[in-house]
């Protein structure tokens, strides 16, 4: 099973994501982070295949963390899961920085799993 780290400051959103991801039986959530800095720490500690990360987080936000993660590892697979996906500038900024997919909230579970399976 592919290892996934979830980075989201919302407990509710993180639980929502975990339930969908683990419920698929195809992925394993190995750690959760509450901001961008923790996401980087969890990436270093767990070497997940995928990071599901929010954009709008207190402290280090998702875009800054994405930039750092790509600088650390060009092959890192980050899926941004965010309510800001529909903002064109944010969407293209994340793609330019190297996000592999962007899933806008609210989403259907299948939308997220499709993005994860395509990685």
């Amino acid at each position: 099973m592919k290892k996934v780290v979830i980075a989201d400051d919302s407990i509710a959103s993180a639980r929502h994501l975990e339930k969908i991801i683990t419920g698929s039986g195809e992925f394993e959530v190995v750690a959760q982070a509450r901001n961008g800095l923790e996401a980087i720490q969890m990436y270093r500690a767990h070497h997940p295949e995928i990071i599901c990360m929010d954009m709008n987080m207190p402290g280090m936000d998702g875009i800054t963390a994405l930039r750092t993660l790509v600088a650390l590892d060009k092959e890192v697979k980050v899926v941004m899961v965010t309510s800001l996906g529909g903002v064109g500038d944010k969407f293209t900024e994340a793609l330019k920085l190297g996000a592999k997919a962007i899933v806008s909230k609210p989403f259907q579970p299948e939308d997220l799993l499709k993005a994860l399976r395509e990685l």
Binding site: S10, A12, S83, G86, S104, P106
Partner: protein, 288 residues
């Protein structure tokens, strides 16, 4: 399904690749110049004028055009000239995708129509905002998308009542807040009764029963709901050329006297009438 921009929709549908979408965005960036660059291209401002305006913007939060007007560098007519030029020369993402060969000109109208159908759920209905309040369409989006997300996420029909001006948030209920910045300066406050909070929690936690959940978790689901609404407001506003940024959500529980609307703000109140007979309350603090 959320509020999307056209390029995102096409990518999700597999109609374009990431590489070609980014190429089209790059083309847009080279054509769609910002206000200052456009004014400079039209020889209305010099390089040193631009520097002066940027320096002044570091001290005072104002748009380039507003600051140029304040400093006497541009007049109203020249600002209109710049805006008109920007409007005329604006390259939309669909046209850019055709120019980079990602789509054919023949495909574009059909894909735009499909996109409109996909986004029909988020076509906003009209709510009257009191005269004098800046960026009224953004506050309409806040009210309308709050109601639409209650239907989309919670499965609860909701009707937005008339907007009235208020001077305080009512006491008692838990309030999920989000600060809105960028071209606007405001904060979003959604007060929900416990029954609605539990329904939101059941939907967001994908649980049938949330009676064993802590208050912290239940309240966090309302914060996440407000975050989703406001993110989609930012997306909708961007379709209308308004840059709205959102900050992470915050929690409030106004005491017995309620919470006063700051003197420098309008308090816009919208009742959200729920199909189950309940009512949520949306109050926006909008800087005057």
């Amino acid at each position: 399904m959320a509020v999307k921009f056209f390029g995102q929709y096409l990518l999700d549908q597999g109609a374009v690749t990431t590489e070609l979408l980014l190429k089209a965005v790059e083309l847009q960036d080279s054509v769609n110049l910002k206000f200052g660059a456009t004014a400079q291209a039209l020889n209305l401002v010099t390089e040193s004028d631009v520097k002066r305006i940027h320096n002044a913007q570091r001290v005072e939060d104002a748009l380039f055009g507003d600051m140029a007007l304040k400093l006497g560098i541009l007049n109203e007519e020249q600002i209109g000239q710049v805006l008109k030029h920007q409007q005329r020369s604006h390259l939309r993402i669909g046209e850019a995708l055709v120019q980079v060969g990602a789509l054919t000109a023949g495909d574009l109208p059909r894909l735009l129509e499909q996109f409109r159908e996909d986004q029909a759920l988020y076509t906003t209905s009209h709510t009257v905002i009191p005269a004098g309040v800046l960026h009224p369409e953004v506050w309409e989006f806040c009210a309308d998308l709050s109601a639409k997300m209650l239907l989309r996420i919670v499965g609860l029909q909701c009707h937005v009542g008339d907007c009235v001006l208020v001077d305080r948030l009512a006491p008692g209920a838990f309030v999920a807040g989000v600060t809105l910045a960028g071209m606007v300066s405001a904060s979003y406050h959604l007060a929900v009764p416990d029954e609605l909070r539990n329904r939101i929690a059941r939907a967001l936690l994908l649980e049938d029963d949330v009676s064993g959940e802590s208050e912290e978790v239940l309240e966090d689901t309302v914060l996440e709901f407000a975050n989703i609404v406001c993110g989609n407001v930012a997306a909708k506003a961007s379709q209308y050329g308004k840059r709205v940024e959102i900050r992470p959500p915050f929690a409030l529980r106004p005491g017995s006297g309620g919470m006063a609307v700051p003197a420098e703000c309008y308090g816009l109140f919208f009742p959200l009438h729920l199909a189950d007979g309940g009512c949520a309350e949306l109050t926006l603090f909008v800087r005057r």
